[in-house]
């Protein structure tokens, strides 16, 4: 049984300019002890999707889903107090900005022991012992001393380690890491990733890694979901994705990796992710796609077959070439 099942999750925001669909019918199935990655540019709705799962979106957001199930429990009908027993405990999350994600007014120890007290009902002595153990586990030197430190006294990398310690404090079955290394120095990035992978292996938890960095994906994930403008455009095991991308967006993302480039100019994807007011009528990627035809601009595509990675494209790529491509355009 999958640990997490999501089918057709949509999130819309009530804004001054009308309704805005940030996440559009995405599906996600995650098995226990699996590492899954969600990739996409900024603004593609990756974070919004997981925040919706955790019930952390503001009231302006409307979340709908056909199936939203964690460990057999239906999250669409669950009450808020019931959900709060799950999140932070069985399903935990770490965020992008370690410096602002910790409360500046409270010590590391206070913020770390809070979950232990609330979810596990530990007494003070147990809390302290466990907190030190956790800080050791995430590789923080002199853990006893760090308990009384405030977040602004630690570096960004240290704070992210504290965040990880808080997240794993109740031995979660699912850990969601939302761009955990984006705000950190390159050298620290690798350390934090290694730490996450080590903990994942030791604890046997599932890990969802949200990132925009294809390099990170290649190093860590087993399966990859590619997201663009709120839609899931492709999903594949990591090897297949890097070898044979089926969606033009995935191909373009891979082509813009420096280590895969063999031309003198690094290719980039022209344009930006469409926002609320400039959503194209047809395929959302059509304004930036090399292969776009009139059909693409007029009619939104449907998800393709599994052998094409469910690619959301009229002409999914096979071995780098679009299939069923109209002859007159190619000529």
């Amino acid at each position: 049984m999958p640990l997490l099942e999501i089918d057709n999750l949509s999130v819309t925001f009530q804004t001054a300019g009308g309704l805005f669909t940030a996440v559009d019918r995405i599906s996600l199935h995650i098995e226990p002890s699996e590492i899954v990655s969600i990739v996409g540019e900024s603004g593609s709705g990756k974070s919004v999707a997981v925040l919706a799962l955790m019930g952390l979106l503001p009231w302006t957001a409307t979340v709908t889903a056909d199936v939203l199930r964690f460990d057999g429990q239906d999250l669409t009908t669950i009450t808020k107090p019931e959900l709060r027993k799950i999140i932070g405990c069985q399903m935990a999350m770490i965020f992008q900005e370690p410096m602002t994600s910790l409360n500046p007014c409270f010590t590391v120890g206070f913020q770390l022991t809070e979950t232990l007290k609330i979810h596990l009902g530990m007494n003070r002595a147990e809390q302290k012992r466990r907190a030190i153990e956790l800080l050791e586990l995430v590789g923080i030197p002199e853990p006893e001393k760090r308990l009384s430190a405030f977040p602004h006294q630690l570096s960004g990398g240290m704070n992210q380690r504290v965040m990880i310690a808080i997240a794993i404090s109740c031995n979660p079955r699912l850990l969601i890491a939302d761009e955990p290394t984006t705000a950190l120095d390159v050298t620290i990035q690798a350390q934090i990733l290694d730490l996450l992978l080590k903990l994942q292996k030791e604890k046997g938890m599932s890990l969802v890694l949200i990132t925009h960095d294809m390099g990170v994906v290649a190093e860590t994930a087993e399966r990859v979901f590619v997201q663009y403008a709120g839609q899931q455009v492709e999903q594949q095991p990591v090897k297949g994705l890097f070898a044979r991308p089926h969606h033009p967006y995935t191909q373009a993302l891979l082509n813009s990796l420096p280590e895969r480039s063999n031309s003198r100019i690094l290719p980039s994807i022209a344009g930006i992710v469409p926002g609320q007011f400039d959503k194209p009528q047809g395929c959302l990627f059509s304004p930036r796609c090399h292969y776009a035809t009139d059909l693409c601009r007029e009619k939104p595509p449907t998800a393709g077959p599994v052998e094409f990675g469910n690619a959301l494209c009229h002409y999914p790529l096979a071995d780098g070439v679009p299939t069923n491509y109209p002859q007159e355009v190619r000529a």
């Binding site: 999140i87 932070g88 965020f95 994600s101 500046p104 809070e114 979950t115 602004h152």
Partner: protein, 336 residues
Amino acid sequence: MFVYFLRKLIVILPTFFGVTLVAFVFIRTLPGDPVMLMAGERGMSPERHAELMAEMGFDKPIIVQYGLYLKQLAGGDFGTSIITKQPVLKEFATLFPATIELSICAMIIAIFFGLPAGMIAATRRGSVFDHTVMTSALTGYSMPIFWWGLLLIIFFSGILGWTPVSGRVSLLYYFETVTGFMLIDSFLSGQEGAFISAMSHLILPSIVLGTIPLAVIARQTRSAMLEVLSEDYVRTARAKGLGPMRVIGVHALRNAMIPVITVIGLQVGVLFAGAILTETIFSWPGIGKWMVDSIFRRDYPAVQGGLLLIAAIVMIVNLVVDLLYGLINPQIRHTD
């Protein structure tokens, strides 16, 4: 923390000397002869005038005069009232408890209602409650409190007859002044009804004086809370599975209090300004009424001394608020 305190103190010292300079200059810019103003004697002989001139040091160079004034102040001499012939400091000390009692009650009302109103309004942004609180707060902030006091007197004293119009306690009761705080003294006296009487005298002036601080605190709490609620660490707290009471009451409130404390501190000056009006309307025998009366009686030594003492008190309170600010905000506490 100690260094932080010292730094604050060093910034305040020149301001304090500036304030003494203002008080010093005040007497000398008044139209008319300073000796006449200070002595308050009419039709004195030229010899007496010259004698007083020398006694008060008005014949010396202005710098020396200022030096003498500072020396006087250092010795605790804040001048002598022309009208009562009492030392200004003594008069001030007798009347000050009345103003403190009134200000504390006003501040309690303001904080007790302002903080929760602002917090709830922020958490229910855009709701009917939010709109009601914000409209009331802006109305309170725009209130001419001298008129507000008169209205309350018309309604509660005139029409309903619930509260007395003026004073601190009914004349039926007489008891020794122990602390100067009427609520405490009346309670200590053990006389039946004395405490209730003091209470009923205090309630309207406190509401009037607390109106503007209440409005300011409610508005500031709401906006600080709104800002904090959108911070990443509040999302983290919610992601830990904490309940809304704990997220708002512990994680958000502690951070939102930092700007609110500053604003509460700044209200002390506002309270003194408001006390001038409130005490005048309710004939409350405190510092504010005394200052206004002194100005009207042309009791300039009293005005000079009172001005200096009030400014000093406001500055000290602001210093204390700064310290409190340092205590609640760890980012300041650890920068030394």
